[in-house]
Every structure is written in C-alpha cells, then in structure tokens.
Amino acid sequence: MNTSLLVQLLVNGAIVGMLYGIVAMCFVLIYKSTQVVNFAQGEFVVLGAWVCLSLVVSMGLPFWLAFLFSLVFMMLFGILVQVVLLRPLVGEPVISVIMATIGLSIFMRSTMNWIFGNNAVRFPQVFDTATVQIAGLNVETAYIMSLVLSLFVMGLFFWFFQYSRWGLAMRATAWNQQIAQSLGISVGRVFAMAWAISAVVSGIAGVVIGLVSAVSNSLAIIGIKVFPAVIVGGLDSIVGAIIGGLTIGILENLAEFVDGQYLHVGNMYSVAPFYVLLIILMIKPYGLFGTPDIERV
C-alpha cells in the first residue's frame, strides 16, 4: 500500500473538507432559522468571489481591503434578497420558498454570467507563499486562512444559537413562523439576519475557493456538493456541518485512493460520498448530530 499517498490524500481531504464545512454551515444557518434549503448557496459563494476579485483587479484595491468590502457587499446582498424575495413569502409553505431559491439561483447565475463573463479568472497572487507543506502535501495558503476563519465562525455560530436572544428567535422562527410572531419576533428581521450572515460566510468561502481554483461561475456547483456534508452532520447542527464537511472531504479522497490504486472504475471520487451518505442515513436518520423530530401524539 502506498502510505505516503494515502496520508497526503487524507490531509487533502481534511483541508478541503473544512471548506465544505464552512459552506455547509451557511446552509445550516439558513435552515436553522427559516427551514429553507437555499439552492442558491453556490451562487452566493461565487458572487462573493467575483466581487472580491473585481475589487482587486479592476479597482486595484489591496486584497484585505477588497475582502472586507466584499463581505460588506455580501451582507447587503443577503438583506436585499430577503427583502425582495423572502419577505413576501413569509408564511408560505417551505417548499415554495425553496423553489424561490431555485429561481434565485437561475437569476443570479445568468446575471453573473452577464456581468462577469463565463471564463475562469485567476486571482492575482495574494499570499507571499502560495503553498505550505503539511505531511508532505502542498496546501494552498488560502486554505489555512479558511481553516482559521471557519473555526472562528463556527464558534461564533455556536454561541449565537445557544445563547443569544436572536439565535433563539431564529430557532423559534424555523419552528413556526406564526408562533414566533406571537412572541414579538419580527420574522422579516430574523430572515434578514440569517440571510445576511449566511451570505457573508458564503462570501468568505467564495474568496477562498477563488484563490485556490480561479473564479468561474461553474464553481457554484459547490452549493450542491455540500449537501451530503450538511446531511451527514445533521441539518440543524453547526458542529455537525463541520464534521460532515470533514467526513465528506476525507471520504472523497479515500475513494480516490481506493479507486486510483485498486479498483480503477473511475468516478468513485464523486459518487462514493453519496453511497456513504445513504449508509449513514440508514443508521442515523438525522445525520450524526441532527436533532430528531419530535414524534408525539
């Protein structure tokens, strides 16, 4: 067995998985506060990357400044989406809202195609050293940045939902909008916050991905790729999202190892996570950390 390759793949999986974890966290955030699965998540990620990129390239801003600005932009964008799209849908069945996010993803994708073109564009060099070595594997510095950020964001989210007033309000809104309203929670404001935060975090993820693999609209696929991560971790668990992300990241790489070394069937990398997803769900129907539904009559 080729141990050093295996180790490198595992390290790679852990690092990429961390990134999945961040995007997964954005899902969880929206889900936890609104019960909506955001199909435009991938587009949010790409939008963040494009905005930062164009600030750097066309406006010539230094990266860190551009990064900050793009996060502010994403926040405003999240709120805008909420006001224009989701506020009118308050109280409608969740599936309609989910569909609306699909509409949003179509809309955003074409708009971004128009504005930013559909070529892949690279970031100018941002970090002095593009890569660092971990366990024999070259890893992009951007990933290290994402790692630090994601741990930080995760802690923040955890605290937010557990202890803050608005965190509670979000959970109540997700449970039942009417009940939340009856408690004096502005459902609109909760939505706005959730979407703003999620957009900002997606923006962070987008910039990292953009730094690693050049920005292009098709990066939005990550929005769907992290579904298994979200589910493995449990839809409503912040910690679960990170662990789910890690699990999927490592799994992909493990599958690549097994496939590349022994099986040679091809495509295991993309499909294996889905098989494992099914297996995990059969054993733990609410993922590893999800809260079971309350079944009481």
């Binding site: 790679n12 074409s110 559909n118 892949a120 070259n138 690693v212 690549e256 590349g260 993309s270």
Partner: protein
C-alpha cells in the same frame, strides 16, 4: 427564386459549455452576417436564427421542430448533447448539420464500420474528430518523449464520465499503446471546476508524463492549478476545446499542448483579411481578440455557404442538395479563407473532413499567454478508425 433561406443556429451562451460557446457561436453568426453583406448565396440571403439554448436538449429539439416548420434548410449545431439527440431528426428531415461536436462516430455516414452504432448521414463538422486530435497528440507525445529520452512513457486520460471527454478515450488509449506508451487507468475529473488535488495525487502517483484532458474551460484550469500545487510534473494535452489563450492565462500554465485546426487570430495568412472584416462587422461579442474557436465557427459557416451555393446551382437550396454540396470538392478551402480553414474533404462514406492537426504549446509568460505552433501531424486515414 427565393430571396432568403432559413438556417437554424443553436448556440450556448449561458449554459454548461458557454465558456467556448461564446466564441464559436459568434463566429458562425458574424460569418453569416458577412456572407449576407457580401451578397448572400448568389443573391439569396441567409436568415440565420441564432438561439441560445443553454445546452438544454428539450429546448434544442423544440427549436429544431420550429425551424423545420418554418422551412429550415440547414442547421448550425453546437454541443454533444443536442447533436446526438438530433441525429435521427436531422436524418429524417434531411437537414444537413454542422456542429461543434467532434465525436468520431459522427464521421461514419453509411455505417461502413461494423462498430458504428448509429450512422449519421447528415452530420458534419469542421476539424479533426476528438479521437483524431487525440491520436495526433499522442503521436506528438511519442516523438517528444523520444527527444527527451524518456523510455516507455506513461499516458493518462482525464475527463468526466460524459460523452464529450470520453469520446476519444478508447481510440486514443489503444493508439498510445500501439506507439509504446504505458497507459495508466483513466482518471475521472468532473466537468465542473473545483479542487482536484485528489485526482492530481493519483495522476502523480501513476507517474504519467503525458496527461490528456478531455474537459474544457474552468475544469481544465482547475486541474492544472491543482496538479501544479501537488507537484505533478507532466505535459498537459488538451482536446480541441480545451486550449486557448484564455485558458492559458487563467491557469497560468507552462506548456499546455493543444490542437487547433485554424491559425490564431491575427496570424499572417491571406484569409485573415476576411476574418478581420467579419470581426469588425460582427456583433462584437468576442471583443477584439477572438479565440481560434471563433475561427472554427467562421469556417463552419463558410463551408455551409459554399455547399449552399452548389445546391442553388444544382436544383435549389434544400437540405439534400446542401448535403451533396458538401461532397463536391476535395481539399476544399472556402474562398477568401485561404490559410484560415485547412483543406478538407468530405465524401459520401467518410465524413472525416480534416485529418491534419496543428499542435500548439501555450505558456503563461509575464502576465500574458504565449502560443506557439510546435508541430503539424497528419493522422492516417485508417479504415478501422472510421467512426471510431
């Protein structure tokens, strides 16, 4: 005497293949604009209906039917998905089609090769098939390896499990073996871009010196970037859609080898005059620096134009006559595009129009893509390769 004929044009400006679709499509439409400006098909105007079908098959079918209803005489198609879906329709309606899908199995119009599953009598494309360009690349690679003194070099195919990247997989692998390569198991790389370090580690582990990339656009960029990060030392070879200055720039690659069947924009050939005029009078979708995909679009349009001229002179512009028009010349270069479109020959039982493949190398130097022609390969016209 009609004064205009309808030609349908499927373009992908917003869908999955828009990265190159936005180059090829305008090539076709700008060319027809120019053709009409120059007097059309001996006075008959071509009414080109360009529609962005976003790489969606049902939309392509719907458009096709609508066009047929409106009396379409020929079709400028695009991708694998729609071309394949329309094969039987175009055959039934006798609509000659020139598309951007270069699958080799479109080249066997009569089903002469017993391995051909579905003959495609009305399908054409300009340029070498995916299989033939890949063969040319391995042929180049085998010489390159010899030059570098590499014994028994390793070749690996990468690409998604999708008809387009897969098209040359077997053909190319068996030719590579024939030329003495060790062929590593193909590595599946998704068509959507992403972080491909895992796949790259496998490639690195296989020790491949020559990596064929069946994908295009962002996916190719991602693959090269990821492989550079993990330290793969290999020569990357792309399919006809995978290499252009945009890709080279985005991937900051050194030495991306890719085939082409036209020179690059601005090259010093007689036909470039016309191309420049086409770009100038065009809609301006490609800016002032079109890629060679645009030029291929132009060629596709002009071959169709001359076939229509023949048809007009021989019984009228209809599908069947246009198809026959495609068979009339050998080593055919459309008038005014000398040096741009390579001499091609289509015959009733062999639609491999072009077997000459130009091999280029693209490198990113000082913030700019530099592309050089490094070889020209003539792929042999073997019978058993017809449709394969």
């Amino acid at each position: 005497q009609e004064d205009s004929v309808l030609v349908g044009h499927l373009a992908d400006y917003t869908g999955a293949t828009s990265f190159v679709g936005k180059q090829y499509g305008p090539g076709v439409s700008d060319a027809f604009k120019q053709i009409n400006a120059d007097g059309g098909i001996d006075g008959t105007m071509v009414e080109l209906d360009t529609v962005d079908y976003a790489y969606k098959v049902p939309e392509a079918i719907a458009l096709f039917k609508r066009w047929v209803g409106n009396g379409m005489v020929a079709l400028q198609g695009w991708g694998t998905a729609d071309t394949e879906a329309l094969i039987s329709f175009v055959a039934r309606e006798e609509i000659p089609t020139i598309s951007g899908s270069y699958s080799a199995h479109l080249t066997d119009p009569q089903g002469k090769n017993p391995n051909t599953r579905a003959p495609a009598p009305f399908n054409f494309f300009y340029g070498p098939s995916y299989s033939d360009s890949c063969r040319a690349l391995v042929q180049w690679a085998s010489e390159d390896a010899k030059e570098k003194g590499v014994e028994n070099p390793t070749f690996v195919h990468t690409g998604d499990n999708h008809p387009y990247p897969n098209a040359p997989k077997e053909a190319c692998a068996s030719y590579a073996e024939e030329l003495g390569f060790t062929v590593a198991p193909p590595v599946v790389v998704p068509l959507a871009p992403g972080d491909f370090k895992a796949q790259c580690l496998t490639i690195k582990d296989s020790g491949a010196q020559y990596v064929y990339m069946g994908n295009l656009g962002g996916s190719v960029v991602s693959l090269i970037k990821s492989c550079n990060t993990v330290g793969v030392e290999a020569t990357y070879m792309g399919n006809p859609w995978a290499g252009d200055y945009q890709t080279v720039e985005a991937a900051e690659t050194q030495n991306l080898i890719f085939p082409s069947s036209t020179p690059f924009y601005g090259a010093d050939v007689p036909g470039m005059e016309l191309v420049k005029k086409i770009v100038e009078n065009g809609e301006g979708q490609v800016g002032d620096r079109p890629t060679h995909h645009y030029l291929r679009g132009v060629c596709s349009a002009y071959y169709m134009k001359e076939a229509m001229e023949w048809a007009k002179a021989n019984g009228g512009i209809n599908g069947k006559n246009i198809r026959d028009g495609m068979y009339q010349k050998s080593d055919w270069v459309p008038e005014g595009l000398e040096g741009v479109c390579s001499p091609s020959t289509w015959t009733e039982d062999d639609h491999r129009g072009l077997l000459k493949v130009t091999i280029n190398s693209g490198s990113f130097k000082d913030g700019e893509a530099v592309i050089e022609k490094i070889a020209e390969i003539d792929v042999p016209r073997r019978d058993e390769w017809l449709g394969q």
